[in-house]
């Protein structure tokens, strides 16, 4: 295709992505370097019969005018990144000096909002991604093994958790594990504790969120693997069988190698999606026990006072996180395709 026609064909798409994705990243970076203006303080001297006193008060009008004139706020440099709500260098340094053990140090880190959110996001990503892949793989193997007539309905029902709006899917689960819901009651019965509630403790909340994550994305892995299984070479399978390979060995040495490229693909998509985990926390009202990076941005943006600069700084850190996460893929693509063709 000629350069000129390529240009015109991709123009609408690239314009849109440039304006609303690339520009937005620039805007986030800029915003994170500024902070909201302080309130304008005026000093009033009151002189009475017993001498003069000076009072300070907030000049609301002047504050509003100043914020109106410079909505971006005043230059803050990198100070927002290093404050307590983000990288918190001072606090981390103090914790390092005062901690007696690594466990103690990790405990103090978890009290800092950013490290807390980071810990949850990374744990969630690291736990949910492999388990999703494993569960999806077994469902695919299972569906492949049953009668053809059962496959259609199985695929139909399996799609539900994935297609349904994340907020709704998580809510449905949340209502069931509520202490008064059916699963909640079942858990109380199993734990033999009539007051057991998932919402009460941090570990159980984390587990429920991760169970939701696996439940909602296993269908994706399943569908991709199932499609891959349809293209496994039948001759190789039969040859392996003639050579005396058991079923497990056939899966291990013929099917699994065939599915490795698909696994890379699923893992990539899942890493991206799990790193942005956000909706289940809203649905489960889990903010007291689990906050992800996306959720931290959401709380900063919402509410009475919109903490735009704080949200922007967290966003930049999140984007850096995504970049680090994707870097192996990029390096590999660079090596494979970067050389002139």
């Amino acid at each position: 295709m000629k350069h000129a026609s390529f240009f015109w064909f991709v123009l609408p798409s690239s314009l849109m992505m440039l304006l609303f994705i690339a520009f937005s990243i620039v805007s986030v970076v800029t915003q994170s370097l500024y902070q909201a203006h302080d309130q304008v303080i005026i000093e009033v001297e009151n002189c009475g019969p017993f001498g003069c006193t000076t009072d300070t008060s907030v000049d609301a009008q002047a504050t509003a005018a100043l914020r109106e004139a410079e909505p971006l706020g005043k230059w803050a440099g990198l100070s927002i990144y290093t404050d307590r709500n983000h990288l918190a260098f001072t606090e981390v340094g103090e914790a390092w000096v005062s901690s007696v053990s690594m466990r103690d140090f990790a405990g103090s880190l978890m009290n800092l909002p950013f490290y807390d959110a980071m810990a949850f996001t990374l744990t969630y990503t690291a736990v949910v991604t492999p388990l999703t892949i494993i569960l999806g793989f077994f469902i695919a193997i299972g569906v492949n093994a049953v009668a053809r007539a059962m496959r259609g309905p199985t695929i139909f029902l399996s799609l539900l958790p994935m297609i349904v709006t994340p907020i709704v899917g998580a809510l449905v689960l949340f209502w069931m594990v509520d202490a008064r819901g059916i699963l909640g009651a079942a858990l109380q019965w199993i734990a033999d504790d009539p007051n057991f509630s998932v919402k009460a403790s941090t570990p159980s909340m984390w587990v429920v969120l991760m169970v939701y994550g696996i439940w909602s994305s296993a269908p994706f892995a399943f569908i991709v693997y199932y499609a891959g299984l349809q293209t496994v070479n039948k001759d190789t399978l039969e040859a392996a069988m003639i050579d005396g390979a058991t079923r497990a060995q056939r899966i291990r040495y013929v099917v699994v190698p065939h599915l490795v490229p698909l696994t890379t693909f699923i893992a990539l998509i899942q890493l991206m999606d799990n790193f942005r985990v956000f909706e289940p926390i809203v649905s489960f009202s889990a903010q007291a026990h689990a906050r992800s990076l996306s959720y931290a941005i959401y709380t900063d943006l919402g509410g009475e006072t919109r903490l735009l600069s704080s949200a922007a700084a967290t966003s930049v850190l999140t984007i850096i996180g995504v970049a680090i996460l994707l870097s192996p893929v990029l390096v590999r693509t660079w090596r494979d395709f970067g050389s002139p063709r």
């Binding site: 798409s13 990243i25 029902l157 008064r180 439940w215 039948k234 069988m241 809203v282 966003s315 995504v322």
Partner: protein
């Protein structure tokens, strides 16, 4: 079935029971919620006995019948959920139309260009696809406030289109790759320009891929929460943020059933969609492109 794939009975029993377990896990929560949405709160959240939620003991006591539409009435009429449904409809139709128009043009060009910049274009799109939407939203808020763009449906539509664009491009690019190059090239040999070849030769054969991509664009717009909750004013809210707002306001009023009814209402169109388009959804997921 060939000999290599025949199974011993024990393996077969294991496979069936594992699948049944998974199917119950996948579908039961939705059935449960659908059933419970026609009960009163005392039954849906039954502290006394979970059998109540099936039989509807308290529903009979409170309303006289074992089913009640009170949750739906409260959500749709009293809290004006229909308005949100209408907004969702507008947003989804516009997002799908605009996404596909831009996406087919771009995806076609990307599938036909042999230069390296087309490849890097796709890699950039992949990186954009990886950005969590909420990080982008935090970049929009200040400019949108300043230019009075905040709160309108049209702004949200454009933003959703832009956020969907990387994935739309990837998917359509994969589909166009499967349409033989010879088709449009022979048209160009016959004297068509590139655009004419696209218009008269490619457009008539591209619909299966476009419909599949459209389904995923629809899902992205329909399921979105991060963008719609941040960029829409209260009266323009779509269904998902409206549903979440029920959680805040109605839980205190003791009427969580509005939210349950709304959740079922949000799920229903998706359910119908899977029934009709199961094949397209599966082919879309396996197009080797991206997930919705």
């Amino acid at each position: 079935m060939s000999k290599a794939t025949r199974l011993s009975p024990s393996v077969q029993v294991f496979a069936y029971s594992f699948l049944c377990l998974w199917l119950i896990l996948a579908a039961f929560p939705f059935l449960w919620t659908l059933w419970g949405s026609f009960k009163v709160e005392g039954d849906f959240f039954s502290k006394a006995d979970w059998v109540n939620s099936i039989l509807g003991t308290l529903t009979v006591v409170e309303t006289g019948g074992s089913f009640t539409g009170a949750g739906y009435y409260g959500a749709w009429v009293q809290e004006e959920f229909w308005r949100a449904a209408l907004n969702t409809l507008i947003v989804c139709v516009c997002v799908v139309t605009i996404s596909l128009t831009c996406g087919t043009l771009g995806g076609y060009a990307l599938s036909r260009s042999t230069y390296r910049y087309a490849f890097w274009f796709l890699i950039f799109a992949l990186m954009f696809r990886a950005m969590p939407p909420i990080t982008l939203v935090s970049g929009y808020l200040l400019p949108f406030f300043e230019w009075n763009l905040w709160g309108h449906l049209s702004t949200t539509i454009i933003v959703l289109v832009a956020i969907n664009q990387p994935f739309t491009l990837w998917m359509l690019h994969a589909f166009f790759k499967n349409i033989p190059k010879d088709l449009d090239e022979s048209a160009m040999v016959d004297g068509c320009t590139r655009f004419q070849a696209f218009r008269h030769v490619i457009i008539p054969v591209m619909w299966p891929g476009v419909i599949t991509t459209g389904l995923f664009s629809f899902l992205l717009a329909y399921n979105d929460f991060a963008v719609t909750t941040m960029l829409l004013s209260k009266e323009n809210q779509t269904m998902v943020p409206k549903l979440v707002s029920f959680l805040g306001t109605t839980q205190t009023k003791g009427n969580v059933m509005f939210a349950v009814a709304a959740a079922v209402s949000v799920t229903a169109p998706l359910f119908v969609m899977i029934i009709f388009f199961q094949k397209q959804i599966v082919s879309g997921l396996t197009a080797g492109a991206v997930k919705g």
